[in-house]
């Protein structure tokens, strides 16, 4: 029982972590906030399901194709919409409002395209459970956890070892110096939005088989991920993962040992307490001005 709970908590925690990491990435790169992250997850889930269930593509192909499309969508939003708004002198709050509008449009668009019912995402594996060290575990949970951890590691390596990833960190810290060195700063911002949306969309595909696919699925996950990102220290990628894991564990164990009706009450109660006592989050982050 405990092992299953821990795996479940890690799984949902890595979902929050990955989506939350996207908030941090966007904030670091552009000093802005996108409130459409949760809906990126939802759109990803719908796209993945469509490719897998209706077009009959292999799961891995569906996943990668979805991630590619989501990357382009995220970059499009930054390059076309956000940049245009900022060029016209829009305040940050209008950009945030713009992302809320995008969130609504995505939800409504999904409803028009796929309907308002919960859709079933067919299971990826033939067996219902796998036996690991004597514990019965749902393989889709392991898949989601595995993809989550893989994405985090891949992103970490990309940001620290690749030239482009390093240039993204450099540009986030000092745009002027980065430009003078020949770094295309607008492109790094677009990439950050693209990666944020790609990660959320990808994780949407792997949790589709676990939770089903529906238009409002991203809303709650998006909020928890946001909360995790704040608890971890907004703008810190690693903090977002820890914060997300924290929420995953709190809600899983509260549901299991108390009652699931209280899980959000307790999770968000903790969020407020953390904000009061540690206003910079667990990991203090030097954010850009």
């Amino acid at each position: 029982m405990l092992i299953q709970l821990i795996i479940g908590a890690l799984m949902i925690g890595s979902v929050y972590g990955l989506v939350g990491l996207g908030y941090g990435l966007i904030y670091k790169a552009s000093g802005l906030m996108s409130l459409a992250q949760g809906d990126m997850l939802m759109i990803g889930a719908f796209l993945g399901m469509t490719f897998y269930k209706y077009l009959g593509l292999p799961f891995i192909v569906s996943l990668l194709l979805t991630m590619f499309i989501m990357f382009m969508l995220g970059m499009f939003i930054e390059r076309i919409l956000v940049t245009k708004l900022l060029a016209k002198g829009a305040q940050t709050v209008y950009v945030i409002l713009c992302t809320i509008s995008i969130s609504m449009i995505l939800q409504n668009g999904a409803m028009l395209t796929w309907g308002s019912n919960v859709m079933q995402f067919p299971s990826v594996f033939k067996t219902n459970t796998v036996n690991i060290f004597g514990y019965e575990i749902i393989p889709e949970n392991l898949l989601a956890l595995g993809v989550g951890i893989f994405c985090m590691l891949a992103l970490h390596l990309f940001m620290t070892k690749s030239k482009f990833g390093t240039s993204m960190r450099a540009a986030a810290q000092d745009e002027l110096a980065a430009s003078a060195l020949g770094i295309n700063v607008p492109a790094t911002k677009g990439a950050a939005w693209g990666i944020a949306s790609m990660l959320a969309g990808g994780i949407g595909v792997v949790i589709g088989p676990i939770f089903g696919v529906y238009t409002s699925m991203g809303a709650m996950i998006g909020q928890k991920a946001f909360a995790g990102a704040v608890v971890g220290g907004y703008g810190n990628m690693y903090g977002a993962i820890i914060g997300g894991m924290f929420f995953g564990f709190v809600e899983t164990f509260v549901s299991a040992y108390l009652t699931s009706s209280y899980k959000d009450f307790i999770s968000f109660g903790i969020l407020i307490i953390v904000m009061i006592f540690m206003p910079t989050g667990l990991f203090r982050e030097e954010v850009m001005e």
Binding site: K163, S167, R169, D174, L176, S179, A180, L181, N184, V185
Partner: protein
Amino acid sequence: MTKLLEVKDLNFHYGEIHALKGISLDVYEGEIVTLIGGNGAGKTTTLRSISGLIGNITSGEIRFMGERIDGLKPHKIASLGIAQCLEGRHIFGNLTVRENLDMGSYLRKDSKVKEDLDYVYNLFPRLLEREKQRAGTLSGGEQQMLAVGRALMQRPKLIMMDEPSLGLAPIIIQGIFEIIKQINKDGTPVLLVEQNSHAALQIADRGYVIETGEIVLKDSAQNLMRNEKIKDSYLGAS
């Protein structure tokens, strides 16, 4: 000697403020040219408009190796071979020393990057010692070395330096000017902006004096040092 950089009748506005009023200056191959002037005279604005870092100029022309570069995006201008050490150093504090230098060679795909890294570490052995350290933990002088080293990693055809001596101890300033001379001897032309006019004129071939957005004087560095007006306004009692 071939003309590398040519600025002709450059005007620049910050909103309503007419910051540069018809600046003209040239840099030839092999030279150290200095632009001296007081606080707020327009030195930094001149360098930043050459690099395209502050948006479009109002009027005038900037040419690099004969080609117009005004209006280009900053990363394009950098890719043509113009490096700039910004005023206040602007190193990436959260990146390591090595990562900062790697960002200098960001655009390069040639095989000489390693050679240049050795060159920079040879100029500044301190940076090699601190290669893996976060750049934010360096002292002011070391950060200035890193800013210069990072610009050198671009293997620029022209290096522009904005107040490299700012906020540094005299002994370190001396070292920085030695390095600038060395860099120039090794083949890179330098456009140097300084408030420390004395030190700048000592290493420069030619100089321009800028006052409230206008070039009021241009001459060889030697003549400028002997000029009574310059002595009074910029060189102190010396």
